[in-house]
Amino acid sequence: MKIGLEVHVALPTKTKLFCNDLAYENQDIPNSNVCPVCLGLPGSKPVLNKKALEISANIANSLNCKIPAKTSFVRKVYFYPDLPKGYQITQLDGAIGKEGYISIKNKKVGIRRVQIEEDPAKILREKDYSLIDFNRSGVPLNEIVTEPDIENLEELKELIKELRSILYYNGVDINQEIKSDLNISLAENRVEIKNVTGIKNLISAAEYEIQRQSQLIKDGKDVIMETRTYKEDTEETVSSREKETEEEYGFIFESDLTFYETSNIKLNKVVIPSKIAHELAEKNGYSEETIRELVMFNKRNLYLLSNTPKEDFSKAVALIEKFYSFGIMDYSDNQFEMMLKYDVSSMDKGTFMSRIEGKEPIKEADKKEIEEYLILTIKQDSTLQGREDEKAIGFLIGKLKQKYHMDSKEAKEIIEKTIKTQKVN
């Protein structure tokens, strides 16, 4: 079995690829972020966004690609109402990245190409016409094309996770709906599944197609070379009527643009989170799976764990999980370090919160004073005497909170203990 993948991801820039309209902000009103360039008005000319070039070079670099000394663009002509110029500006031969790979557990999956291209407009189908919103037209994308090196569904899933993780570490919004094309061949002939939206659909499209092709083979039938589309509602792939297209009519150099030098692009240190997770697991003798879960899509966790000494490592993992379980996301480095002092495993949220705010646990000496205060309080209030009910304890908790700024759990403990001792006496 051979599976190859083509994914399209939007890049984290402020503005579009070839004009300075906002790419992601203020998009509520259709056609509010448009100009002659992204509308393809006659006479307009594209100018390349430097940031998009930088991000793309970094993504290519993270995917172990060769980055050519000069990168350039081509025009891909096709006719569809969402494509304002009648051609898409993309890269192919001049791609920013070529011949790279992604490592997954047991192998390397080749990356044929990482290329920069522009997103077409958004199109809404209506019965007798279509409605077009050009806000999305010109949003910068990377198209990442793998070699058909993937050999089963597990590898496909793993590859997607690995790729998304690397993209996330390059600043890519990981919650976006990634659009992909998939090619799968169980026999000789290659079947392409075009325009699958989202990861969930990608996996189930692959599942369906593998099933379909193996059934055909089992039945002794031929798998036809064709393009198919994935139907979300029925979760199956169907043959698309789209026949020979403009594809065979060549791409020509985009001479409204030129060659761009890549040598002066600043390349950041490559972060492969799964690799770091592996190293952390080895170094600290900890479960790799757990660390992966924590760091693959979380830069902060990766940072914290990488900076934790071995003796604190398990505590750090537990602490991160605790923060997460309490829904606390915006803690500081100092708070994290401070919390490492405690055994947080049995802490309730209240105690945990007051520790984060810097409140120390009650000391033994203070406990003595608190007990005395409690005894005095009960003595002075006849309605409290001899009672162990919730209402009475609740009242006392309130008192302690007010006077000693204790949290409820601590207060309750000390109240119950005092009442018990009093009874014995």
Binding site: P42, G43, V47, K85, Y87, Y249
Partner: protein
């Protein structure tokens, strides 16, 4: 500066517009004359260059009704310097033509209406020939400034590729298109060039190089360039050469290898690029609009694209064919390497001197004579203007004689970025030769 332009106030403007409308009904110089009162130094602009609020059609039905709401950079710069656009000049559809006849309204030569005005910037040349002290912003891809300037008896400068921003120019072939200027003397062209040239952040291919004025005293005549030229044209040209010779220029006859390939190479590149540029005309975003949205996009596009003229259709089909996967290497890539070769060959001479030739290999033809010629015949008439255009070398066409009442133009080519040397050369020429203009409308 002794440069003069026709300056009008609001009252004068209405008068001018009236005169122009009268003449235009016979000559078809303008696709659009702006009646909105304005004042300033009068210029006209080729109809493939966007002027905010004024229709831009590039003489194509697919763009009829399109009113751009942004200015081309050249127009912006000129308006800021006190120039007022009186109208948009007629042209061959999208620039596809050498005679000004590939337009709904055929352009007529202002010296004699039976003759062609030349193309594709036909209207700019006519306007310059009939309006007092006029300047027109034109555009050349393969000779569209030189040819009409020559036939209409005006000076036409095609600058170095990239010297003037193409922002706002409706594309024909992006690696070949050059905005340029037509006028009645070198001085006024220089004035306008100073305003419109220079890098523009809206056009990646506009260059920052300073335009120079390096004089040359050597004139190269390319013998294999001039071999297919009409005998009368050649005789007049020889006379011109002897005049330059007696003025102290050194005339040298040379041969440039592989120059013959420039014509097919030019047409291959320009058609391949044009076929992509014309993909955007689909009948619903701008220009002539179809209302039958329910017919499905393929049928809809096909219906809308019936509005292209014959030459446009020919170039779309051919251009698509020659960039096809199996032919790209044979045609498109080969043409790219021919361009590299011709640049190298021509440059070795242009470092030493100018290259000079007649602008057109024929005498101005009658409209009837060219109406039915084959495309290949028409393309071959561009043989003298194609090489500098293919290679982005600046060149200028200037009137040097009159044959049976019709002007003859000569074309001077120089090295990249030496644009002002051409104007300097022509200004010396103008000291000893008085141009005749068709009319003096003001």
């Amino acid at each position: 500066m002794k440069e003069e332009f026709l300056y009008v106030d609001k009252e004068g403007y209405s008068k001018l517009v009236n005169h122009l409308e009268n003449r235009n009904s016979e000559l078809n110089a303008f696709n659009f004359i702006d009646k909105t009162e304005k004042e300033g130094k009068i210029i006209s602009v080729k109809d493939n260059i966007c002027v905010q609020g004024i229709p831009a059609t590039a003489s194509s039905k697919v763009l009829s009704g399109y009113v751009p709401n942004f200015n081309a950079t050249v127009v912006d710069r000129l308006q800021k310097n006190g120039f007022a656009v009186v109208g948009k000049t007629n042209m061959d559809e999208f620039g596809f033509g050498s005679f000004g006849i590939n337009s709904d309204k055929i352009a007529h030569n202002p010296f004699d209406q039976r003759y062609v005005a030349g193309g594709s910037s036909s209207g700019s040349a006519i306007a310059t020939a009939i309006i007092k002290n006029h300047i027109s912003i034109a555009e050349s891809t393969g000779g569209s400034i030189s040819t009409p300037a020559s036939f209409c008896g005006v000076v036409g400068l095609t600058p170095t590729y990239g010297a003037i921003s193409r922002y706002g120019l409706i594309d024909y072939a992006n690696s070949l298109d050059k905005i340029g200027v037509m006028g009645r003397n070198s001085e006024s062209l220089k004035y306008v060039m100073n305003i419109v040239s220079g890098q523009d952040e809206k056009d990646t291919t506009s260059v920052s190089n300073t335009l120079e004025e390096v004089r040359k005293d050597k004139l190269y005549v390319i013998d294999n360039f001039t071999k297919n030229i009409n005998q009368t044209v050649l005789d007049r040209f020889e006379e011109l050469l002897s005049r330059f010779s007696s003025d102290g220029y050194k005339i040298e006859h040379v041969k440039i290898d592989n120059l013959d390939y420039s014509l097919p190479a030019y047409y291959i590149l320009s058609m391949a690029e044009a076929s992509t540029n014309l993909a955007k005309y689909q009948g619903f975003k701008y220009g002539h609009k179809l209302k039958q949205f329910s017919m499905g996009y393929n049928e809809f596009f096909t219906e809308a694209r019936k509005d292209f003229g014959m030459e446009a259709k020919r170039r779309i089909i051919l251009g698509t064919f020659i960039r096809g996967k199996s032919f790209k290497q044979k045609y498109y890539e080969k043409a790219l390497s021919i361009r590299a070769e011709i640049i190298k060959r021509m440059k070795s001479f242009l470092k030493e001197g100018f290259i000079i030739s007649p602008t057109a290999p024929i005498l101005t033809p009658k409209i009837d004579e060219v109406k039915d010629i084959t495309p290949v015949e028409e393309y071959s008439m561009d043989m003298l203007t194609i090489p500098p255009n293919l290679c982005g070398f600046p060149h200028i066409s200037f009137p040097y004689n009159y044959e049976k009442g019709l002007p003859l133009g000569a074309q001077l080519i120089t090295d990249h970025f030496n644009d002002y040397a051409l104007l300097d050369f022509v200004s010396h020429w103008e000291e000893g030769f008085k141009y005749r203009f068709a009319e003096e409308i003001s």
